[in-house]
Symmetry: D2
Subunit: 247 residues, 4 copies
């Protein structure tokens, strides 16, 4: 049952969608006005109607919805890379994960949706505030956004963590302590758009004696199914190098 | 604490690894003999020694370990594709998922590690047996491997499911009922190595009025860091077309 | 020695460039006025100066300059694909080549720059005119742009041609006669952005008993060397499927 | 008319092929014996028969045939990369080209097939001998294979060259003189499988004030058309980074 204050995705026929919350307000859309107050008490997936009689599905937001609708700062990691981190490290509901830098919190939200606990560090205060709001919208109580530079902060952490994820310029400087706080068998996963940073990270994980080191680039090609035929799309999102290493 | 009968990953220095279980036996390795019986009662991540004094970490297997060590039949989906399914559909611990065809159960195990419940159909009896053993090794009680052709079986299913995943030749024939058993906002994800099947699936999801339809090909390029420099690897795994559609 | 009327590429310091011709006119640029008349009689590669004393190199245009500066209609084949056609078929100065559809003539100009003779068909009269002007700008007397639908026109051609190149929707309908007019050992090369057309072409070349049939997709990834590091570019040009077959 | 001593490609029905020459010998094949002496005086493309009555086409070898059949040392550049060099630099029959290192001469043969003159340097004497034999087989009199290290040898060259192509570890050390010997508007093209070398080359071409600098990676994906459908192949050739810069 949907409660007052809860975030929802309203999806109209034809696919147009609105990420909003259940509250004492009216949502004005191209397809008419929806009274958000009336959504309280409905079941997820219920249908409501605008004053023009247009149908809207009331959906429980899932991670791709947060990716699409939350405030983003800079260039977030794309779902193809996030998914590869999840599958290569085997993120699961028992996991405690250490993450940095938070950015707008996209990766932390994906991880926190699955894992038991995520602690994420962000040095930039503005980003910390954005990320906290986003985590709140995702309704995830198990994500702790900490303001601080992980290069320093990790020194006083004990762990053990099951997974450490790093998407930050100075990732190589964190590798030594990342190994210390990981439990045996735990994974380090790093993301960098830049080759040179990736090369530093590789040198660091090799120096620290990690196992199963691998660096990959994930390219996503969309297929466009049009009237004239099916063709590879020329649109691409940004991408980066993923490096995995196991303690 | 590790119990008798539990599956473990023994990882020696240098990275060599053994997927085995805690039982009344001795494991003979190149680095000496490990007495598996002595592992009972230890904590995950503990160190044991072979009779030659070589160190082995006792690791709790994670999904990539199952991918690597379980018996596989045919060409399983690769982690890059599995991860993309997880991130594009937002698989989470609340989910009930319908899957087919099971094959050796690789995708089902990844999904079952995260989701509340996975029901997976496989028409080939030999694969059903392989998959059941694999699910058992993964220690997942929430995956139900059913013997049957989902094209027929889905007609008597009610749902609702949060996600339906299809990796089978006749996927297009399942699309109509997949929509019926999905809850509003739920995702259908299909995988096919073949263009023609993908084209049929696209036609089906468009005909059934799904939203947010997208087809992607995920290419993974490994970077090799060698003594002479860093170069793109020429090794590639097999790949396939992923189609996503939302109810 | 550069003659009156000849097409030239004027390249200023910093890389800005002007594709123009030697004639009784003045070229107004951001870096001052260049008197085009004074270029007559100079050697290729000579330096001229604008009235502001800025340096301009007078370059003999090469095929990439035509690609960049001639009038283009629709989506021309990209250099990566053109180059792959040249290397896969081994285009050489002894070759007589049959091409269709001409479009703006980009491929014909690349081929005509190397081969002895290119005959190219275009059904659309507007494109014929554009292509003829472009061929003229490229100074290539060995390219004959014919107005007509090759599906019909090829029936009255005798050949033999060393290479036949097709970049047109109905390419599959030309395959039978393409084989007839090719000399033994000659290559057919087709380009299509669409999968379905490519599939028809493949069926046709297999039916006609061609040898060495191969279909490839060429993806080009640019590396961006920036101040923060080197990263894969997210810009991509359009692409298409190249099919090669040998008589 | 085919002369005594000339290299030929004999192509049997079904596609099996033999790269050989016209001489006083008999060629033993799975499809019977072909008397090579009888080929003298025939036209290119003629049909000859084995003693078993099997048909063989007598083809004039084209560059892809040399790529396939000549002796190769190490990992030669692939046709996709060679083609991209040709199209990005606009190699044409008027060109004089400087090339190093020769290796087995694959790139030099492609270039020499089109250009007026190719001078190519190779430091390794064994490779020099292999390359000279290959050039001879290709029947190209306009390719001069010189034994020497271009890093030193280029200092005494004057040029001007239209294109300089470098596929060698120390390419960055050649960039300064490459610019000197290029004519205005001429292109430098380098190939390296390694990122670090590419990075050095980029630094060098930027330092030397080249224009239109671009680095690309060309990935080729084959499509396999099988009975079960059409799928992306998992076979890939090796690849490398191409850097282009214009004087």
């Amino acid at each position: 049952m949907i409660a007052q204050g809860e975030y929802i995705l309203l999806k109209a026929e034809g696919g147009r969608e609105y990420f909003t919350s259940v509250r004492d307000e009216k949502l004005h859309t191209d397809l008419g006005i929806v009274d958000l107050k009336n959504i309280e008490g409905l079941e997820w997936g219920a249908i409501v109607y605008s004053h023009l009689g247009k149908e809207f599905k009331v959906l429980k937001p899932r991670t791709p919805d947060f990716f699409k609708h939350i405030k983003r700062t800079g260039a977030p990691m794309m779902p193809k890379d996030i998914g590869t981190i999840i599958s290569y490290t085997g993120v699961c509901p028992d996991d405690t994960i250490l993450d940095a830098g938070t950015g707008s919190g996209v990766l932390a939200i994906y991880l926190g949706t699955i894992a038991k606990k995520v602690i994420t560090y962000e040095a930039n205060e503005h980003f910390v505030n954005v990320a906290r709001k986003n985590v709140d919208k995702a309704g995830l109580k198990n994500i702790e956004v900490r303001h601080g530079n992980i290069v320093e902060e990790i020194k006083s952490l004990e762990g053990p963590f099951d997974v450490v994820t790093l998407d930050m310029q100075e990732a190589a400087k964190v590798v030594h302590d990342a190994k210390r706080v990981l439990m045996n068998g735990g994974f380090l996963a790093t993301y960098s758009p830049f080759f040179e940073q990736t090369s530093e990270i590789r040198a660091a994980v090799e120096r620290e004696g990690f196992n199963d080191i691998i660096t990959v680039l994930i390219n996503e090609h969309e297929l466009e199914f049009g009237e004239r035929g099916t063709r590879p799309s020329t649109r691409v999102g940004h991408t980066g190098f993923l490096t995995f290493a196991r303690k």
